[in-house]
């Protein structure tokens, strides 16, 4: 299997291109490009800022970059990966941390995958139901954080009816890009449902809003995080 074995040791730092035949084991630090015809194992202590192309990729360390494998990618427990994954077979184990886009269409170009995300999503589930299910469960934990911020505007809505619909529209476009790269389309659906239900609440309670129309700012404060709100208001004032 391996006509050559290369090891990048723990105290070793490589900046540049690393290409070759055979297998590679990285324990150290690599910045640049890794292209190997064979298996690449990134051990626990490895720190990689590189685009990686190989036959099989096994990750136990930290990687920022695009991973592309002809055969399979395995994200093992304890790994931290940020970047796109492209492989016909993919396994994300419990305890792995991952953020990025996954493409499991064989031979699909990156640009093609980006333009037709919705088409690639069902294909992923069809070809790899088990892997997609696991990845969905892992990825789903990350987007759960922004979710509370979205339903929050509906609570503030009764107090400020005229401004609220505009704000809701302004807020909606932001979360949507986060939703798109996720393979778990089922997670996204209930969230959209909440946002749509929000306008109904405002319409049903216009009287309360007119009464307390003079007190718009206080309820907005708890709705958004302090830093977020400050940034939004500054932009509004500047424009």
């Amino acid at each position: 299997m391996a006509d050559s074995e290369a090891i990048i040791g723990q105290g070793t730092f490589i900046r540049g291109n690393l290409r070759g035949e055979g297998d590679l084991c990285v324990v150290g630090h690599v910045e640049g490009v890794i292209e190997v015809r064979g298996q690449v194992i990134f051990e626990e202590t490895s720190i990689i800022q590189a685009d990686v192309t190989a036959e099989r990729i096994i990750v136990r360390g930290a990687i920022a970059g695009e991973l592309s494998a002809k055969e399979s990618i395995v994200l093992e427990e304890g790994c931290r990966v940020v970047g796109g994954l492209r492989a016909p077979r993919l396994r994300i184990e419990p305890g792995a941390l991952y953020r990025g886009r996954i493409d499991m269409m064989e031979g699909g170009a990156v640009t093609a995958a980006a333009s037709a995300k919705q088409q690639s999503r069902p294909a992923v589930q069809a070809t790899q139901p088990s892997a997609a299910g696991r990845s969905a469960s892992v990825v789903a934990s990350a987007p759960a954080r922004p979710a509370p911020a979205r339903p929050a505007p509906s609570r503030t809505a009764p107090n400020r009816p005229p401004a609220r619909p505009a704000r809701a529209q302004a807020v909606q476009p932001l979360p949507e890009p986060e939703v798109q790269p996720q393979p778990a389309s089922s997670v996204a659906l209930p969230r959209v449902g909440r946002i749509r239900s929000a306008p109904a609440v405002t319409e049903s309670a216009p009287v309360q809003a007119s009464d307390s129309g003079d007190v718009p700012p206080p309820p907005v404060v708890p709705a958004l995080k302090k830093k977020t709100k400050g940034a939004v208001r500054k932009r509004g004032d500047a424009s």
């Binding site: 290369a6 730092f13 690393l18 290409r19 055979g22």
Partner: protein
């Protein structure tokens, strides 16, 4: 297990910085630095400036070699470039072209 091994099929273009031993069986272009020994085995190609505590050359090196301790040019070794080291050995059969600075 040696800390870092650049296998025979591997090519690195860029910079390699290591704290401990580096064994080169493949190709490195750019720069190679180690706090410990660098061993360039037969069949390896290094087109780089090499800096290490000690350097053993059995393969082909093009570039300046600097060693805190010693440079050993083995019989299969080929070295084109300047050598700066406290000690230098050149085995019978080795080929070498360049300047030598031994801190005389």
């Amino acid at each position: 297990m040696a800390s870092t091994v650049i296998g025979p099929g591997i090519t690195i273009e860029g910079e390699v910085i290591a704290d401990d031993d580096v064994v080169v069986q493949g190709t490195i272009r750019g720069k190679l630095t180690s706090q410990d020994a660098v061993i360039i085995e037969a069949g390896a190609t290094v087109e780089a400036d090499v800096s290490a505590a000690s350097v053993v050359v059995s393969g082909s090196v093009t570039g300046d070699v600097q060693a805190a301790d010693r440079v050993d040019l083995q019989s299969t070794g080929r070295l084109v470039g300047d050598v700066k080291a406290a000690r230098l050995t050149i085995a019978d059969g080795a080929s070498f072209k360049g300047n030598v600075d031994m801190d005389v």
